[in-house]
Symmetry: D2
Subunit: 296 residues, 4 copies
């Protein structure tokens, strides 16, 4: 499927991580220059702590002769020859829309925001399906022309494990680039964390690592913090401990009860998740050693 | 001692906390109206959770006939008659400068900021003395005309307990309104936490409750958070768990190593501590049940 | 029409502004105490510059014997006797839902956010109608069960003045508590600014007073500012000069072109407008002398 | 003069701006790879609007054989051959401390902050001298061991022009890398704006372009804005219109009178100026077409 973005706006995006050494930038820049590529964005990061090198380069698709597959093949040949075997790289085409599946429960704020952004073309992709463990958000989803799948988790006839099998079947049928847990309120089993590694994105309603787990606004109220926050992170088997993509906070004071925090927190959750999802879909997030590099 | 603030700017400040019930506002407002008091600031808070009522009122000193002692006596009589026995209240005079003792170690950023603010009259008070457990900040302190007391904590001849006795003796000689731990790096013993309860103010270099204890910027770097913060709180016997007065954060990203976080964190520590100290000295902070109400 | 909020959550809200003098707080507090009113929120402000006093009090509706009309009548009697003739006051019932009419053009982000908030009950009111000068947002509006009225401004058969007459007729038929210009892109004629004074709320996509008028993001890009913002304000006859209710900003840098500013700006516009509308509907905004007092 | 930074922390810093075209990154990266340079930071920006390319590269000094002068000569040869004649570039050595002259009037907050940062080594340089148009800050300056020069602007015997000649003589004697106007309150004459172009840095106490000129906090109070700010910018002949390096804001509300804004504004001015000065001294700020690119 080809998107309808203008030719001048279409990009090939190279992301790469490898052990740091002298000359990497020159090799990549030389390769792109040889391909005639017009670089519109280039970002680099060397992490002295882990001695790891990261880069993201965006080039105009129409500046490169030949297909992206040919470019990918040439880069693979060069990388095999000149880069460390542990190197990880991807070359993607912004003209190929990404697919997103969203998992929800009863809270509508993140879902409606994502549906609105997708509808007005803010993401380089589309929401292929929404899966809910309650019926509450079905009608809202369908108003936006997106299919809704109900998978109850409180049906005594269906085990939790079987319910997750159904979720996985629906998700995997879409081969999504992102599985977004938009206040899903169910903890993914370890095998799905593994299977959707670096693709499953959660929004947690606290400024992690504070207030892991349930009812973070109640925890925040009890502690008397002066700011509340939200954290967008990749899902890993350890609860609320995956690589953090984005965080933000909002000021509260003594006059804010838990219900006020919940209401104000929704706005932060919505914004933080939207930024995290966009960066992920634009291939701006690289992961290494439990942390992210975000080239925003 | 009388300060030199203009008569029109001098305030009597009433702070009060008590079990909530109907009519409290009317009783206080009636009392002040009878005294002819011109209210310049009035703030109220009812905490539904603890059923506790809080207020802070500032009145022009020159609008009240008679001395503050007479006003205090009249309020005491009224309160004994009309308020719950658990009521806590204070009536202070902004024309009486507050006294502050600052405890430091080697880091200069908070100290120099506090000395500068005190010198230009930003606080309603003065820094009476600085106590350091290293000699490093002695010369800086004395440049500002403030006495510096060296109390080493690494002298094999002097026990930690004896060192704290010396600190306490110096502090208590000043009868300070605030004991400010400006990156003191020593944990107060429980009896001093108790003795200086609601007067000892610490700055912790993380967004609590994240990263309690030592080396919080190292912890933040390891976790890969996208914001770092600082927390100003009253000191209690439980480490980094006292009532929070103020917090703030600053954005960091993957390019910020620990040393960058330390540098940027200094600015947040400095600002957060300065706000907390000012609010405390202006009688804007009320404490109840491990949390603060800040009428800023 | 009665709303379905729980009896314990229903409030009578008194807002009052008058020339400042000693004893006002006592008179109001005394009045409320006599009525048996349980005050849940009380905020005061004395503006020394204009010598004006402002207050907002929220009391539990179920703590007051008799109807709100009786309470209003008693307050009117007291106020006539004891308050300055220039005093402005209102007594409203949070159990009476507010009505909002939204004016839009082609941009969906503010509208969808307002529709979502209204649907999940975040506002004490409902969106009674949406008026658009383009057809673009009609279908979106109707998905949320809200009537949409198309009033074109580019029809050569219909003068601009006649188009505004149609808008006004639709608006006024709803007797709305707020007329929200959610990126309406048309300048209200002076007589409507006057007619909807303190009810017409606009979102301007800059941090006013910077970048008044058209294409503020282009102006911001050309100037090279490091933050962009949005401003929610009451509409007055002078363009973008009405009393400011709320503002906020977001950081941009050299890598953000105009299109990036437009995208990021949408999020700020959305949040700032939502806060402004909520505060207005909750009777938290008082206006005096071209400025607002917001008791949030 | 050589600084005492550790060899491993010493950097050669290349900054370059030129008309954008394909292959620039490759040429620079190739050059650095040939020199054996270990790149620790690399940042690029292509501005589509002006078709201008910007880069900043930091390399470990100890990774390059030969002196910086040799490297500079080789780069000049390559650039003359391979880069557009309008290219602007610099190659600096972080081991050569920068020199700063600070111009002040009566307000101490920015000055004391800069003196403190310089003293604790936060800037890659030193404050060589302070020039004041009042005597007020002389004693403070000298406490930090920095020479203070009094140049009065209110002496009827000395014309404004003659006073500026004296200022210029003192400044130029130090050949400073930065001339910092830390609330100097005097408008530089055009010939000094020209002479110190891209070196004279001002802090303006508003969020420009709002509230140009005198008494911006009074203007902000009168307009009723909900945020106040500060702007650090290069000085140009047009008042408060030079390229913006950094800006920030702080929230205010109706309870903040002008004096409160002045007090809170000081903190923002201090932080914004400190960031701007540090970025400038670290060669992180490139200027083109009235705007800055800041590689922070």
């Amino acid at each position: 499927m080809e998107s309808d973005i203008a030719a001048a706006d279409r990009r090939y995006i190279l992301t790469l991580g490898c052990p740091d050494e002298t000359g990497i930038v020159a090799r990549i820049a030389g390769f792109l220059a040889d391909a005639g590529a017009w670089i519109t964005e280039a970002a680099y990061h060397s992490d002295a702590d882990s001695n790891w090198f990261f880069t993201r380069q965006a080039v105009r698709a129409d500046s490169v002769a030949g297909s992206i597959d040919e470019l990918r093949a040439r880069f693979a040949t060069m990388a095999a020859d000149q880069f460390h075997p542990n190197t990880e790289w991807r070359l993607t085409d912004s003209g190929t829309p990404k697919r997103v599946v969203v998992l929800v429960s009863r809270e509508s704020h993140c879902l409606i925001d994502l549906l609105g952004r997708a509808e007005r073309g803010e993401f380089p992709g589309e929401i292929a399906a929404v899966i809910g463990n309650h019926v509450s958000l079905g009608e809202l989803t369908e108003r936006f022309g997106v299919p809704f799948h109900l998978v109850p988790f409180d049906d005594p006839q269906v085990s939790r494990s079987a319910a997750f099998d159904r979720v996985a079947a629906i998700v995997d049928a879409h081969e999504p680039d992102a599985v977004v847990l938009a206040r899903f309120m169910q903890i993914l089993p370890p095998h799905l964390c593994e299977q959707w590694s670096r693709r499953a994105i959660n929004i947690h309603h606290s400024f992690l690592p504070s207030f892991v787990g349930a009812r973070p606004y109640h925890q925040a109220f009890a502690r008397g913090v002066k700011l509340i926050g939200a954290t967008c992170h990749y899902v890993t088997a350890e609860l609320d401990a995956g690589p953090i993509i984005e965080q933000d906070v909002i000021r509260v004071d003594h006059s804010d009860h838990v219900a006020d925090m919940v209401r104000q927190g929704r706005d932060i959750e919505t914004m933080v998740l939207a930024r995290g999802v966009r960066w992920h879909l634009e291939d701006r997030v690289l992961v290494h050693g439990g942390k992210t590099v975000v080239f925003d």
